[in-house]
Symmetry: C2
Subunit: 560 residues, 2 copies
């Protein structure tokens, strides 16, 4: 008797959230990984630099991994690759630009040789029992593909991130023919991007942005500062084209913008006319109406070039009246206030700032409802798993699928780690594997957990108060201290009386403990913490973290 063949789809990231996209496709003992993205920390993840998927399941099954398929070069699809490749040795497949961006990332992480394979849309790759087809899609970065993964139990289509753009700034359009052909042949399961499912209608074309950019460049009299996502190569191309047409030189500022422009132009994705590009040091000497600066900072990131310009703190560029600042991006949820702050400061410096969503300086890279319906209607999947979105978006996408004729019991609105299992008898959520988030702060991986975050949270709210005492080892009497050190609690110079009282209370508490025969340090510390904490709360209604530290001296070391 042979075991039944099983096909499993296991999302490890990107469900119930926006970011850190990652999906595992497993057929018996063969695994493909689709994307390996990072997410940016929520505001309550204090001090965290980035978030990656929990990779435990893949590490445990590393010998089964045949390949890593990358749909496009955005951080939320490639950002966890260095962490994945530290643990897993498998070939990576992607288009030229995608691999270029990945290589830069791997170099930075000082990873050794990684086996990469450049693919083009409509290429087919065999990996074990799988046959993988790469399908062109439009998105806000060139070289984006969706995937058709043919398995013995049927075909899985993963859209990656996509939109339908009949007039993209570059690259082919969404490969309607291939998706339709696959749909006609029969698709077992569709995984589709839910990012914009809350938006009715169609997402507008990138070409419209190009026209608006051109109009603005035609009218601007001073310098133009153009802020966008570094990875939005088509957008950069449109700005560069407009600059060239209107006789402006272009300089690039911001580390990621400089990197991407270098990679994209090396690989032929950016067409920069000879003599257009200048160094920043050179461009500051150009007449103002011959200057265009491409910069990072469209999200108000505090250390970005645009934020520095807004703060009047950029080493080379200072904003002057007459400058036009174009923010060619829409706010990622959570960044609204930081962006607004930059806009205000740029206005104050006298710039004309074009930032409103109605300005036509940005279109989304993700499919809205009508495009999502089109995908469902082309692919006609038997089963459907909405991916890339928070829970409410996945629910909404499931509703759309129901409208488009996918049986409700064939749609799986699931969580990261859920295992959707297909056999020849059908499909069901069969299991749950370890999944979740790993918080990365600096070099350390995995060691910023809930305890550390909880402490950071408390420290951030009311600061810390440290009480240090040296005790006589023989009788427990105080030899030195109590000394008080505080940070982030009160302004010490104005609070001397209160802190003196803390010393006094500590002394009394120690004395009382001594009289009651309490000598264990844990008890002494608890007593001090309680009494001092209560005193401070009554006085200030604040609850600083209170850390009593005891030291003991047994005998004076008079040797030297």
């Amino acid at each position: 008797m042979t075991r039944e063949n099983k096909l499993q789809i296991i999302p490890l990231g990107g469900l119930g959230e926006v970011g850190k996209n990652m999906t595992v496709i497993r057929y018996n003992n063969q695994i493909l990984i689709v994307d390996a993205g990072l997410a940016f920390p929520d505001e309550d993840m204090l001090g965290i630099d980035l978030v990656i998927p929990d990779l435990t399941y893949l590490v445990e099954n590393q010998d089964l991994v045949l390949g890593i398929l990358i749909t496009h070069g955005h951080e939320d699809h490639i950002g966890a690759l260095p962490y994945l490749l530290k643990n897993i040795n498998a070939p990576v497949y992607g288009t030229r630009l995608t691999l270029g961006l990945i290589q830069a990332k791997l170099n930075e992480a000082k990873l050794g040789h990684v086996d990469t394979h450049e693919i083009k849309p409509r290429d087919t790759v065999r990996l074990g029992t799988f046959k993988v087809e790469f399908i062109n899609v439009s998105h806000s970065i060139p070289g984006s593909v969706g995937l058709a993964i043919h398995t013995p139990l049927g075909t899985i289509i993963h859209t990656g991130d996509f939109k339908l753009d009949h007039t993209p700034a570059s690259g082919g359009i969404l490969d309607i023919h291939k998706f339709s052909e696959l749909g006609d042949q029969g698709v077992l399961c569709l995984l589709a991007d839910s990012t914009n499912v809350e938006r009715p209608g169609f997402t507008q074309s990138e070409k419209i942005v190009g026209q608006n950019i051109d109009d603005t460049f035609a009218e601007a009299e001073g310098r133009i500062i153009f802020a966008s996502f570094a990875s939005n190569v088509n957008r950069l191309q449109q700005a560069i084209t407009a600059a060239h047409k209107h006789n402006r030189k272009v300089a690039v500022v911001g580390r990621s913008m400089v990197n991407v422009v270098a990679i994209a132009s090396d690989l032929g994705y950016l067409d920069i006319p000879e003599g257009t590009l200048l160094e920043v040091d050179e461009i500051v000497n150009q007449p103002v109406n011959e200057v265009c600066i491409l910069t990072t900072g469209s999200q108000g990131e505090p250390m970005s070039a645009l934020s520095r310009m807004a703060m009047h703190d950029h080493r080379q560029i200072s904003i002057s009246p007459g400058d036009t600042v174009i923010i060619s991006a829409s706010p990622i949820p959570g960044n609204e206030k930081a962006i607004a702050r930059n806009v205000d400061m740029l206005f104050k410096l006298g710039a004309k700032v074009i930032y409103e969503s109605v300005s036509g300086m940005h279109v989304s890279g993700h499919a809205a409802q009508e495009e999502l319906k089109l995908m469902l209607s082309m692919v006609k999947p038997q089963y459907f798993i909405p991916v890339h979105g928070e829970y409410r978006m996945l629910m909404k996408h499931a509703e759309l699928a129901a409208q488009m004729g996918v049986h409700q019991e064939n749609t799986f609105v699931i969580e990261n780690g859920s295992v959707v299992e297909f056999t020849r008898h059908g499909a069901r959520v069969a299991d749950k594997v370890q999944a979740g988030r790993v918080l990365i702060d600096g070099l350390g991986v995995g060691d910023v957990g809930n305890i550390v975050l909880r402490d950071r949270k408390q420290l951030s709210q009311d600061g810390i108060l440290i009480i240090v005492l040296t005790l006589n080892g023989s009788d427990g009497s105080i030899l030195s201290g109590p000394d008080i050190v505080t940070r982030g609690f009160v302004y010490v110079r104005e609070s001397e009386l209160m802190l003196d009282e803390v010393k006094e209370i500590t002394r009394k508490t120690m004395l009382r403990c001594q009289q009651n025969g309490i000598r264990e340090w844990a008890s002494l510390k608890n007593q001090i913490r309680d009494v001092v904490g209560k005193n401070l709360y009554d006085k200030t209604k604040r609850r600083p973290m209170i850390i009593p530290i005891l030291q003991e001296v047994k005998e004076l070391n008079t040797s030297k």
Copy 2:
């Protein structure tokens, strides 16, 4: 020779920001204060509870203050009153609901008797040389008024917060006749609400929301949970009316919601049919289709009732499939993610959640561009000061005023503390008084400044590492320690080796200092901080706050 008469307008809050609205009107030695609001802290004001205007100017001139005029009962117009009235003794003027909300606030702050005067729209009050007229406006709280302040140098109009609503849920409409009449008589200066100046067109009427609420109540089959701002009394009225019509009992949860419903119904602003209101404990026993719960939490505030329900952590109410949750508010910038998190969790609990801006469950309380133009065209002011808005909004409002015929040099886009001075010769920005923000954390006022905030910020990012040493007073040798305590830096159990190394490094550093004759504690501490800091950064790429603490023992106290 007599001194020239001077009329000054001095905004102390609400300019270049949203919140803590406050304006001073001064004629020679007589002062009126318009509003005394608070602002909620930005996310970088760690641990701060609320923000009020710097009151220094008013405290210094307290003897000149004739009255405090409150336009309406929102926190950003009344929230700083307890702090103001601790310092200044002056009568407070407002409509009945406004005073009711103020009184609750003063009771909570345990302030003694305050002299309050109830006014009605079209009332006129004489205060010194000033004659103040109160003018009805529509806004998202009943009892909202604008002000006409007649002075010997001309009339100042302050709109307060307003919109034009031809079909408000209750109360009169914007008093077009009075504003027009004043405009015909001649207005020296207009101060107008800029909150919604970025929105084209007209703000929709509250009545539309009422119809949508009614439709939703008619269709809902399970319980209805209705989240809104507690102060949006008209909105609550519409929910209560719909509940009564569709045979649902109403319970109120959330501290501020309970307070406002009590005050508003006491004062006749809320019409609650007999028998409609139940206690929460009672309503849980009602059939689900006869239940409506009014709740706080429309902004995703972590401790609010709705957030607790979403977290499945509310003592009395747990969300079940079939429940309809209506979020009848729009996100205040900065709250988007918290709201989305609640929506997701409510969806997961099986509720139908109505939250989208297109759902018609909310309209703004502020005038959009066409209404702002109407105000400018009715009032025809000689001078114009846009208020209540961030800098870009004030600029935009100034543009509108220019379109409406206000001379550009007669519009003042100014900052908090700027003094716009009128004489019979004209107007100019004449001076700058102390203004800014005071951060309030717990009971303390004024003592959370930049140093404390900077420390909290550092603590929140990488935590703290404390190194304690007891030294021999005679030769500087180590008697006890080094001991290490960390919080919010690394997970200690996984980092013992690293922390042991910190001890070792500290010992070596002390020894080196001893050999080099360095005995000053400041130098010793700096050395430790530098060496340990560098070591930890190399290992972790984190920069915890490092606090070396030295204690000294001169002789062992062996008496006892």
